[in-house]
Every structure is written in structure tokens, then in C-alpha cells.
């Protein structure tokens, strides 16, 4: 007989006990490894989605709302010797079945012949021609469309000129096109193409590049270049871009002035933005900049000339109020030098609101229409205006009073077109007409047509495309990082399964101890045979570890099952938190090994530590007859820990209440946790230190307490188990969001707004303007709030990817005053009116931003006071400091900055895409129907604000449900553990129970004694857990989140009742044995 044989015999003889221990360890292994597999699988799924949405694309060159020439792609491809493709991307709405099916938020992609290479295909997209469209599978399914169907598309016009720039007509900003479906693009055909980091499938409609350009009414312009070159570095692309960058790419062109003596630089965008202007002003050969504006009227006394261009004049020192007018105007106004003139003109607000301004001038001189004064090229190219045959055909962004246009005006137009009639200094012109789109309309350089090349070179030397808003991104790497660093489901599920894991570990320990208990005599016999204690321990540990090994291996298989179960739930009942249908199971050997190793380590700890304690206790009892050590340093440490933790917890709460701090829910949760810890430590101290009063009134409760004191560790483990269990159940229950509670309140996550809406195509006008409403067919009964939205990723809980630049929403702080609630605030946030803080800006151009606290913390992995770095329209860094965190709101996933700061950073941005609507619930049906009808061509997606909030809250609730379900499983294991403790306890006390029976104590009383003992522990455990959970979730309970106090009470009572019932059941079964008296006898 050697130790190995001895262990083998033990393994076989005690196989039932060992099997149950192996099962306990298998559960722990399954939980750990299963969580790792879930994490791997989600990560793998997200990484797979990167390939599905980018195909072979590695880098993407974007130009924001601007356009480069399509030839740039070919130049880069040739220069760098890499595959490239150019595209024009916009958004739209698709309509099928005569309007019965209308799907918005579609990416309309005009792709060139080379897009097939990006998709890894040969002749798929390149087969597109004319009015043909290929739909992504998801879009086809939603539209119920198949090849051969004809669909109507409403496409957002991608105008070369910013849509809200002055004098640009808003007519035709939505283009309608009937397209024939010629193919369906599945995953393999890059149907899920999406530049946004999201696991949700984008809805795509692919048309030929030429077709989309034609629909947009321009040609040879694109806003995207795709590169497929994993090895190329961004500096190489930048260098090539600079080398191949042309004026056409910058949206500029050169032409000769009317007298052919100067070269005139103009922009497709009409107004030349300030960044480009700054570079142009420094360009060698520049003569002067020009700003020409279209004014409503110029009048002098009773005479008035309607609609004229007025330009800056660079050649004399005109003062602020001085003006030069041409002969025609002087004649028309009967004006002479020295006379005063009144000029009226429009300035255009963010939503095309027109405001009439007026300025008085004194005529300095009257000039003939020749040279600079007769230069038609001073008039900018304004589609609808400069190309109109006569004044009555003007289509501008401002209302033209046709009745004011006289015949002589028509004649002037026919003869001189938009030749300016008046001239002011450039400073005056800028003061009056500079706007967010630019301060100049052209730049004049010296030279003639032979100098175009040189001038062009000089200009391009100063025009850095990267400073014009052009960005080059390694989208592949960014997407892979976003996927890799996204929501860590390994940690998440390990955390969510924590209680289950704890249950498994405690169960393993208890099962192992139960095994040891039943072999107590045998162990003592071994010792009496002279086998050293160390050797006995080693053999028992080896036996335990062999069982653990078997349990861990079984656990690995169970982990796969556990993973399948979780994935089945994620694809069905918990699908709210993943929002995709492409979750793939990924089982990696390294994760299995890691799970196995962690489990073995945990098993070793779960076996070795209790074994040591058990043997120590047994041999101490044998030698000294000692049973319980009621005092000692452990007790003092427990008391110190209890006091420190308790005072810290209470201090945190007091500080929060007195100072009205910003810690919010997390602070209370931490305080609750500390108080839980304090309560448990205090109980341990009580068990270890406090002497029980003995003697005189010896009764049942006293006897129960004597058993509780007899084994402090066991008593504490039961209390811990149920304290944690009840803390978990009550705190998750308290934090569950009532999806529709208080939604009408201004301080709620809806801000008190009835509807939240988004439009696929931006709406350019103010929907509160009565004339706009009349035109749109909207009644006057409700109010809109309109917000511009920048491009960017969704950082809400619906996106699993790690987001670094969420979409920005521009808000008017005054409109949101008193709305929503702040969960956390920095010192930069105005206490009385937090929203007003958004209108400030700090040094180095840093601007304030607000987001949902959950987005800041979980979506972005940041904290209040941290800074997000974006690129503004000019390609410069836009730093947004997060000054406050909102309680969960309908703005989840976005960063809010002031509209003022938004338009400063993105001046070319036009219109609104996000809307809040004020109204009463009774009108909700009417408002929804009316706005849907009016805005149908804009891809109107409207929902009750409460419903939108509920969608976000349902994600939180799903997480809480998972936590609760896994926690409840843990509690179930804990209850099995309780049964084992009870069984062990009865096993240990068989003789005592027998003696009680022998002295005539009724069985019912003995059962009552045991139940009472365990119920005391259960009540203490549940009590500690319950009180600390109430403290931890106090903000939720005291706030207006709609948590049912009744529900919490029911949970508390249910826990107690279930505990009592189980204890009674366990005790009854354990005491069933009739022949227990044999324990007392000698035979």
C-alpha cells in the first residue's frame, strides 16, 4: 500500500461524495470558462463584422461635406500603386409598394468600377448602370423588394454649396429617383458596408457613381476614396495627396477677370472659408480679396433700386460709410456724390431664418461701368441666380418680390448680368456680410491665362488639404480596435456570474468539508498510526485535487453548454444588449486553458485552506478538548474593520447629503457596499468575541444561539451567503427602471418632451415658423426643438464597439433650461442653470460638452472633466470637455454642445436632423400622424420620448435581468450549500440530537431548534443585505425612477419565506432517521 493506492481506494470508496465535489468544481469552471468564451465570441463576432462592413477596405479618405474630383482616386492609386475606389455617399429614403413601405436612414452609395475590388468581387457593382440599384440584404428584406422591382428613392442632395449658405435655393435639396433593383448584396458582396463602428447592419443602396452624380446635378465630384492597402502608412498617403491635390479637388477654379488683366479665384462653395482664406491671403501674387453680396434694395430718398450685387473695392481708402456707385445706379436713384444711400440686405440664420439689416452710406463717387466697375466676374456663381436668363427666373434662397423688378432691371440684367452696382471697402463688406461660410467670394491674382499654372501652384503650396477638412483614416485598424476594445463580455459575464461563481466555490468548500467530516475518525486513526499530519494533509489534498481535476475537465464541457445557453438567450430574450443577428460562438483553446487554470487554482484554494483549518481544529480538539475560541486578535480586527467600513459608508452618505455632492448613484452604491461589509464584520466580531449569557433562563432561543456561537466560521458563511444574495436581489430589483414612469416630468430622461424624432435628410428650415408650417401642412398646436447632428458613431448602450468620437448634437441651452437631470457635475457646470454652461468656451478653443453619464462612463470609458478630441470642418482639433453627466436620457449615445459652438466648429453644416416635440399626450396620435405625413420625404422617424428612453432602459434592465438570473442561480447553489451546512451540522450533532431524544425532547422541538438556529442566521444575513442594498440604491428608491417599494418588500418577505421553507425541509429530512439513538450506545 502506497499513498497513491490509498488515494485511489479513497477515490473509489467515497465516489459519491467525490462526485458531488467534482460537480461543485465543474460549476465554478463552467462559469469562469463560459464567461471567457462569451467574451471571445462577442469579440470574434464584432471582428467578423469589421470584415463584413469594410470588405478589403483599409483606409478611407473623407472630405466632410465637401467634394474632391473623382480623378484624385486614380492619381493616388497610380502614385502609391495600390487599389482604390471613389464614391459619392449620401443618405435617403426608399419607398416601395406605392408608399406602403417607406424605409429611412439609408446610405445611398454611388460606387465606381473599382468598388468590386474593395468587395473582393469581379463583376458585381461594376455591372451597375443607368437607373439600376443594388440593395443590401437587410434593406431588401425591409422593403420586401426583389430583383426586377422598381423603387422610389428620395435622396439627400449633396450640394457643392452648403445648403444653408446665403442665396442658395433650398429647392431640390431632395432628389427623387426611380431605380430598378438589379441585385441583392449579401454579406459576401459587402452588403453590410458601413463606415460607422456598429454591429448593426447598415441599410445600403448602391448605384453607379455616374448615375448618382447625375442625380446630384454635378459630375466628377466625390466625397469618399477607399484604399485597400494594409501595409501602407498614413504619412505616405498624406504625401501623395499633397502631391496630387488640385484646385479642382479643393473646389476652386481660376478664370480671367473681365478685363483679362487679373486671375480670379472662386470657389464652388461661393463663400471661401476662413481657413482657406487665411492661406490664400498669404499666397504670392495675390492682388486683393473680394466679397460680393446680393442686397435687397438700395434707395435714396424716394428712389429705390431692387436686388443688386454690391462688391468690395480694393483700390481706394473707402471709409466705413462711404460707397461708390456706378452710373446706372446713380441715374436710377437720381443720386449725386455726397448724397446718402440706404441699403437693405438679408442675413441668414442657422435655419435659414432671414433677417433684414440696413446700412446707410454716403456716396463718395459715381463711376462708369468699365474696368473693375464693369467686371461681371465679381458676381459669384450662384446656381439659380447667376445662370438665370432674366430676373423673374431667379431661384434664390431668399424671397424675391417680382413686382418690384422693373423693366430697366431686366435690361440691366440682360446687359450686365450681376455686375455690381455699388462698391464698399473690404472691411465694411466683411463687417456686413461675412458669415460662417466665409468672408470672401473671390481672390484676385496678378497675371493672365498663361500664368494659371504658376498661380495654381502658388495657391496649392499654401492650401493644405488636411486643413480643409480632409481626413485620412485607417478605418480597418480603428474598427478592429473598436471591436477589440468594445464591451468586454468576458468581464461582464464573469461579473454578472460572480454570485454564481461564489455559490459554486462555497458549494465546493462545503462539499469537501462534508466529505472530511464523514471521515473524521479515519483521519484521527491515521494520525494514531503515526502518519505525520503533513503527510495526511498532502494525501487528502492530492485526493481533492484529483477530484478537482476531473471536475474542471467536466466544467470545460459544461462551459461550452453554458456558453450556448447564454448565446441562445442573447439571440432571443437578451437580444436587447447585442442588437445584431451575427453573434458567432468562438471557442479558443487559450480561453479553455485559462478557465481551466483559474478553476484549478480556485479549487486548490477551496480545498487546501479548509483542509488546513479542518485538520488543525480536529487535532486541537483531540489534544486539548478545545472547541471554540471566542476571542482573539481576529475579533479585534473584525471590530476595527467594521467600525472603519461603517463610518466610511455613513460618512460618504453624510458628505453627499450635506454638500449636495455629485457622486450620485455610484457613491451610494459604494456606501451600501461598505455598510454591508461593516455589518458582516460586526457579526463576525459578535460571534468571536461576545460571551453569551449563560444559565438561569436556559431556553430554546438560547440553545439556538449556543449553536451559532459554537462554529463562528460556519455561521458567518451562511450569513455572508444570504447577505450577498439579498443585497444582489434587492439592489438589482431597486435599480430596475420602470420604463414609462415620470416620463412627462421635465426632470426625467425625456426632458418632458412628448416626441423624439430624427430625419434621414436634414430639414433646413425652422419648423416653428408659421410660414414654414403652413407650407409643410403642419398645424400650430405644438412646438419643435431642432438640433443639428454631426456625423459620428453611436455611443449608446446599443453599440457594443468602443467609441471614441460619438456624434455631436448642437443644442440651444435656453431651450433646455430646467429640463433633464444631471447625475454628475463638474465645477465648470453652472449650478443654477447647468445648460447655460454650454455657451461658454475655454482657452485653446476647448468647448464644453454634456453627455449621458452612462455614455461617459461605459460607452466612452471616460469620466467627467475628460476631453474628447474631434476634427472640425477645417480638419483642426475640436476639443470637447465633458462638464456634466446626464441621468439616462433620450440623448444617450450623443455628446451635446451648444448650437453656437456647433456651427462654429461645423459652419457648413446645414439643417436639423434631430427634433424634440412639445405637446400633450392626448394629441400624440394626431401629432405623430401629421408630422409623418409632412416629413415623409425626409425619412421621418418619430417615437414617443418615453418609448425611446424605455428602449435604452430596457438594455439596462436586460443587464439587470441577466445579473438577477445568474444571481438567482447562485442563490440556488447557495441554498444547496445551506442544505449541506445544515446536514453537516446535524451529522456533527447526531449524538446531541440523540441525547435530546433520549431525555424526551420531542422531535418537533429539536427540528424547531435547528430551524430557529438557521433562521436566526438567515434573518441576520438577509437583514444586513437588505439594509445595505436599500442604502446602496437609495437614489433610485428616493428618486423618481418608479421603483416599486412594494416589490422590494415582497422580495424581502419572499427571501425570508423561501429561506424558512427550505430550512424546515432540510431539517425535517435530516432528522427523519429513526435509529439515531444508536449514536449513544456502546454496542
Amino acid at each position: 500500500m502506497n499513498p497513491l493506492q490509498f488515494i485511489k481506494r479513497n477515490l473509489l470508496y467515497f465516489r459519491k461524495k467525490n462526485l458531488s465535489l467534482a460537480l461543485g468544481i465543474a460549476i465554478s469552471t463552467a462559469v469562469i470558462t463560459g464567461s471567457l468564451i462569451v467574451g471571445d465570441s462577442v469579440r470574434h463576432s464584432l471582428e467578423s463584422i469589421v470584415g463584413q462592413r469594410l470588405g478589403k477596405i483599409t483606409h478611407v479618405i473623407k472630405f466632410g461635406d465637401r467634394f474632391f474630383s473623382s480623378s484624385l482616386s486614380d492619381s493616388l492609386s497610380a502614385d502609391l500603386n495600390i487599389p482604390s475606389s471613389t464614391a459619392l455617399m449620401t443618405s435617403g429614403v426608399a419607398v416601395n409598394d406605392g408608399g406602403a413601405i417607406r424605409i429611412g436612414n439609408i446610405q445611398i452609395l454611388g460606387v465606381d468600377q473599382n468598388f468590386d475590388a474593395m468587395a473582393g468581387l469581379k463583376y458585381f457593382y461594376s455591372s451597375l448602370s443607368g437607373d439600376e440599384v443594388i440593395l443590401s440584404q437587410d434593406l431588401a428584406e425591409r422593403l420586401n423588394a426583389k430583383p426586377g422591382d422598381r423603387l422610389l428613392f428620395r435622396i439627400s442632395r449633396t450640394s457643392l454649396i452648403p445648403l444653408n449658405a446665403p442665396f442658395v435655393s433650398d429647392k431640390g435639396n431632395i432628389v427623387s429617383a426611380g431605380l430598378k433593383v438589379v441585385g441583392i448584396a449579401g454579406t459576401k458582396e459587402l452588403g453590410r458596408f458601413n463606415l460607422k463602428n456598429s454591429q448593426s447592419a447598415a441599410l445600403n443602396a448602391f448605384v453607379s457613381y455616374e448615375e448618382l452624380c447625375g442625380l446630384m446635378d454635378f459630375e466628377g465630384k466625390a466625397n469618399l476614396i477607399f484604399l485597400a492597402a494594409p501595409e501602407i502608412r498614413i504619412p505616405e498617403i498624406q504625401a501623395s495627396l499633397k502631391k496630387n491635390w488640385s484646385l479642382e479637388d479643393a473646389g476652386m477654379k481660376l478664370k480671367l477677370s473681365a478685363d483679362n488683366k487679373e486671375i480670379n479665384l472662386t470657389s464652388d462653395r461661393v463663400f471661401i472659408d476662413d481657413i482657406a482664406a487665411e492661406a490664400l491671403l498669404k499666397t504670392k501674387g495675390l492682388e486683393y480679396p473680394v466679397l460680393t453680396y446680393f442686397v435687397n434694395s438700395i434707395s435714396s430718398g424716394k428712389y429705390k433700386t431692387p436686388y443688386s450685387f454690391v462688391s468690395s473695392y480694393p483700390f481706394s481708402d473707402l471709409k466705413d460709410k462711404e460707397i461708390i456707385i456706378n452710373r446706372w445706379l446713380a441715374d436710377d436713384l437720381h443720386a449725386r456724390p455726397g448724397d446718402s444711400l440706404q441699403m437693405q440686405y438679408f442675413v441668414v440664420g442657422p435655419l435659414r431664418e432671414l433677417k433684414v439689416e440696413e446700412k446707410s452710406f454716403v456716396i463718395k463717387s459715381i463711376t462708369e461701368q468699365k474696368g473693375y466697375f464693369g467686371d461681371q466676374s465679381l458676381m459669384p456663381d450662384l446656381p439659380g441666380l447667376s445662370d438665370a436668363g432674366n430676373c423673374r427666373d431667379w431661384e434664390t434662397g431668399i424671397p424675391i418680390k417680382l413686382d418690384e423688378i422693373r423693366d430697366k432691371d431686366e435690361e440691366y440684367w440682360k446687359k450686365f448680368r450681376g455686375t455690381p452696382k455699388a462698391f464698399v471697402s473690404i472691411e465694411t463688406a466683411k463687417n456686413l456680410w461675412a458669415n460662417r461660410f466665409g468672408s470672401y467670394t473671390s481672390f484676385r491674382f496678378s497675371g493672365d491665362s498663361s500664368d494659371f499654372k504658376d498661380v495654381s501652384r502658388e495657391i496649392l503650396a499654401g492650401l493644405d488639404p488636411l486643413k480643409q477638412g480632409l481626413t485620412i483614416g485607417n478605418n480597418r485598424i480603428e474598427a478592429e480596435n473598436a471591436a477589440k476594445n468594445g464591451v468586454d463580455f468576458s468581464q461582464l459575464f464573469a461579473g454578472l456570474s460572480f454570485f454564481l461563481l461564489l455559490g459554486g466555490i462555497i458549494l465546493s468548500i462545503l462539499l469537501f468539508l462534508l466529505n472530511l467530516d464523514s471521515r473524521k475518525d479515519q483521519i484521527l486513526d491515521l494520525s494514531s498510526l503515526g502518519i505525520p499530519l503533513k503527510k495526511i494533509k498532502r494525501m487528502l489534498l492530492a485526493e481533492g485535487m484529483m477530484v478537482a481535476l476531473a471536475g474542471s475537465v467536466t466544467g470545460i464541457f459544461l462551459a461550452v453548454l453554458y456558453n450556448r445557453l447564454i448565446f441562445a438567450a442573447l439571440n432571443t430574450i437578451w437580444s436587447d444588449i447585442v442588437r445584431t443577428d451575427v453573434m458567432l460562438v468562438d471557442i479558443r483553446v487559450e480561453s479553455l486553458l485559462l478557465g481551466f487554470l483559474i478553476s484549478i487554482l480556485l479549487a486548490w484554494a477551496s480545498i487546501n485552506l479548509p483542509l488546513g483549518r479542518f485538520l488543525k481544529k480536529q487535532f486541537l480538539t483531540l489534544k486539548q478538548g478545545k472547541t471554540v475560541n471566542r476571542s482573539g486578535s481576529g475579533a479585534n480586527i473584525a471590530l476595527a474593520v467594521s467600525v472603519i467600513a461603517g463610518l466610511s459608508g455613513m460618512g460618504m452618505i453624510a458628505g453627499e447629503i450635506l454638500n449636495k455632492g455629485n457622486g450620485g448613484e455610484s457613491l451610494f452604491f459604494a456606501a451600501g457596499g461598505l455598510i454591508l461589509f461593516s455589518g458582516l464584520s460586526l457579526f463576525y466580531y459578535y460571534l468571536k468575541y461576545t460571551q453569551r449569557a449563560s444559565g438561569q433562563a436556559f431556553n430554546l432561543p438560547q440553545l439556538s444561539w449556543s449553536y451559532i456561537f459554537r462554529n463562528p466560521s460556519r455561521s458567518l458563511s451562511i450569513v455572508i451567503l444570504f447577505a450577498l444574495g439579498s443585497f444582489l436581489v434587492v439592489s438589482t430589483g431597486s435599480n430596475r427602471k420602470n420604463l414609462f414612469s415620470n416620463s412627462a416630468s421635465k426632470s426625467s430622461g425625456t426632458g418632458g418632451f412628448l416626441f423624439y424624432a430624427e430625419s434621414t435628410l436634414p430639414f433646413l428650415h425652422n419648423l416653428n415658423d408659421s410660414s414654414v408650417r403652413y407650407e409643410m401642412g403642419l398645424s400650430q398646436d405644438y412646438q419643435f426643438l431642432q438640433f443639428p447632428l454631426s456625423a459620428g458613431d453611436d455611443a449608446s448602450c446599443l453599440n457594443l464597439n468602443k467609441i471614441s468620437n460619438p456624434a455631436i448634437l448642437g443644442v440651444d441651452p435656453s431651450e433646455l433650461e430646467g429640463c433633464f437631470s444631471f447625475e454628475s457635475k463638474t465645477s465648470l457646470l453652472n449650478e443654477s442653470n447647468p445648460w447655460a454652461s454650454l455657451d461658454t468656451s475655454y482657452k485653446e478653443g476647448i468647448i464644453p460638452g454634456i453627455a449621458d453619464e452612462t455614455v461617459i462612463k461605459w460607452g466612452l470609458g471616460l469620466k467627467d472633466g475628460d476631453t474628447l478630441v474631434y476634427k472640425n470642418s477645417a480638419g483642426a482639433d475640436l476639443k470637447v470637455i465633458l462638464i456634466g453627466g446626464l441621468s439616462p436620457s433620450i440623448f444617450q449615445g450623443r455628446v451635446l454642445i451648444s448650437k453656437k459652438n456647433f456651427l462654429h466648429a461645423f459652419p457648413e453644416h446645414s439643417g436639423s436632423s434631430v427634433f424634440l416635440i412639445n405637446g400633450v399626450m392626448e394629441d400624440s396620435g394626431f401629432i405623430k400622424a401629421e408630422t409623418k405625413a409632412a416629413m415623409r420625404d425626409y425619412g421621418w422617424d418619430i417615437s414617443l420620448s418615453a418609448a425611446r428612453l424605455a428602449e435604452f432602459n430596457s438594455v439596462t434592465n436586460t443587464y439587470l435581468s441577466i445579473f438577477m438570473v445568474l444571481g438567482a442561480l447562485g442563490l440556488l447553489l447557495g441554498t444547496v450549500g445551506l442544505g449541506i451546512v445544515l446536514f453537516r451540522s446535524i451529522l456533527e450533532r447526531r449524538k446531541e440530537i440523540a441525547i435530546m431524544k433520549a431525555v424526551g425532547i420531542p422531535g418537533i422541538m429539536i427540528r424547531k431548534l435547528i430551524v430557529s438556529e438557521f433562521m436566526i442566521l438567515l434573518r441576520i444575513g438577509i437583514g444586513i443585505g437588505f439594509v445595505s442594498a436599500i442604502i446602496a440604491t437609495f437614489p433610485s428608491l428616493a428618486g423618481k425612477t418608479g421603483v416599486s417599494v412594494l416589490l422590494i418588500f415582497i422580495m424581502f418577505v419572499a427571501l425570508l419565506l423561501v429561506g424558512r421553507a427550505l430550512t424546515y425541509l432540510f431539517a425535517r429530512n435530516a432528522l427523519k432517521e429513526e435509529s439515531i439513538y444508536k449514536e449513544l450506545t456502546t454496542e
Binding site: 444559565g695 440553545l703 446531541e992 433520549a998 431525555v999 439513538y1077 450506545t1081 456502546t1082 454496542e1083
Partner: protein, 229 residues
């Protein structure tokens, strides 16, 4: 007081190798105030007989009359009450609750008592008995801090705290040294003589048996008076 008529008790299944008939048609009578010792080799059925008399076990056949009442007709609660009021048990091991003090252990059978006066009377009796046994000064100590003899004396007090009519003792000195065994025998004798307590003990010890009024031998499942003593 106690009569056993044709009591049989066996273990195992008849016809199989593990079958053992330990009490075979055994009859026995004991008067109030008697002290009787039953001797017999290991496995002869001494403890089984004691358990049957103490209503911890039941015979396969025959009847057991206590004060002319058949214990078979008792309900469970009547049996518990019988054990609590009429019977006192002492075993080879003291079986004191390790977490309770000596006094608490002694008061264990009084757990059922609710009446305050009765409780006080029991407490006074416990004091008297513990003093009589010489362990009153140790009343607040837990068993782990006491000697085996002191614990066994406490177990004896526990057995008689409710003034039983019959004390059943199963090898009461089996785990004690000679001196302490002698002390226990003295105490049993004293209780029998001064308090009129009926005592029925089973033992291997001839010395202890000889301190009792009568001695029986349990041989082949039957009790026979010990003619040698």
C-alpha cells in the same frame, strides 16, 4: 413497575448471514426502588434491551408494561413525555453539548417546561444535585474544560433532573478511570438508597454490577439471575 413479557428483538433479515436474534422471548420484572445490573458479553443485546425499556427502540414481539401500561399503546408524544418524566438515561459517554455550560446541559430536559415556578424549582434542584455531585462550582464551565468524571456526574444530574422513576445506565463508568468509576457507583447507590430511584444498568464491570441490588446475566437472548453473586 416494569414488566417485559416475551420480548424478542432481532437485527438483519431472517435466513441471511447478518441475522441476529438478540432478545429471545425474554421476560423480566422490576419493582420500584430496585437497583439491577445486567451483565453480558459484547453484542449480547444489553443495550438493545435498555433502549427498548427506554422507548428508544421497539421489540419485534412481546410487550413492555410500565406501571401496567403497555408502551406500544403510547403515541409519539406520550413516549417523549414518558422519556422526559419517567426515564433518566446515562451513557458510557457523557454526551454533554460542548457549547453549553454544565448548568445548561443539566437543564436540557427542562427545555419543555414553560411554567416559571416549575423552572425555578428545576433550577433549585439542579443546584442541589450539582452540589451533591460536587461540581456546583464548575456550573458555568463548558464540558471541554472539565474532566471526564465531572462530565459524567453532570450527565447523571441531567438524567435525574426531572425526578424520573427509572434510571437507565448504559456502561456509565465505561469511559472512566477506576476512581471516577467508583465515585459514579457511589452516587448511583446513594440515589437508589436515599431517593428511592430505581436503577437498571447494563455493564461489563463486575465491580459496578456488584454495587447493585440484583444482577442478571443476558445469555442467548434471555435474562438469568446471576447465581455467582
Amino acid at each position: 413497575m416494569l414488566t417485559l413479557n416475551s420480548v424478542s428483538k432481532s437485527f438483519g433479515t431472517p435466513g441471511e448471514i447478518n441475522y441476529r436474534l438478540v432478545l429471545d422471548n425474554l421476560s423480566f420484572h422490576m419493582e420500584k426502588g430496585e437497583s439491577i445490573a445486567i451483565l453480558g458479553p459484547s453484542g449480547s443485546g444489553k443495550t438493545s434491551l435498555l433502549n427498548i425499556i427506554g422507548s428508544l427502540d421497539f421489540p419485534d414481539a412481546g410487550e413492555l408494561l410500565f406501571r401496567d401500561k403497555n408502551l406500544r399503546t403510547y403515541s409519539n408524544s406520550e413516549l417523549e413525555n414518558f422519556r422526559n418524566k419517567e426515564i433518566g438515561f446515562v451513557f458510557q459517554q457523557h454526551h454533554l453539548l460542548p457549547q453549553c455550560t454544565l448548568l445548561e446541559n443539566v437543564l436540557l430536559p427542562s427545555l419543555l417546561v414553560k411554567d416559571k415556578d416549575e423552572k425555578l424549582a428545576i433550577l433549585n434542584r439542579a443546584e442541589e444535585l450539582l452540589k451533591r455531585m460536587g461540581i456546583w462550582e464548575h456550573r458555568d464551565k463548558i464540558p471541554g474544560k472539565m474532566s471526564g468524571g465531572e462530565c459524567q456526574r453532570a450527565a447523571l444530574v441531567r438524567a435525574i433532573i426531572n425526578k424520573p422513576s427509572l434510571l437507565l445506565a448504559d456502561e456509565p463508568s465505561g469511559a472512566l478511570d477506576k476512581k471516577n468509576a467508583g465515585n459514579i457507583a457511589d452516587l448511583l447507590n446513594e440515589l437508589n438508597e436515599s431517593d428511592g430511584l430505581s436503577i437498571l444498568l447494563v455493564t461489563h464491570s463486575q465491580d459496578l454490577a456488584e454495587r447493585m441490588g440484583k444482577i442478571y446475566q443476558l445469555i442467548d437472548g434471555k435474562l438469568e439471575p446471576d447465581t455467582a453473586s
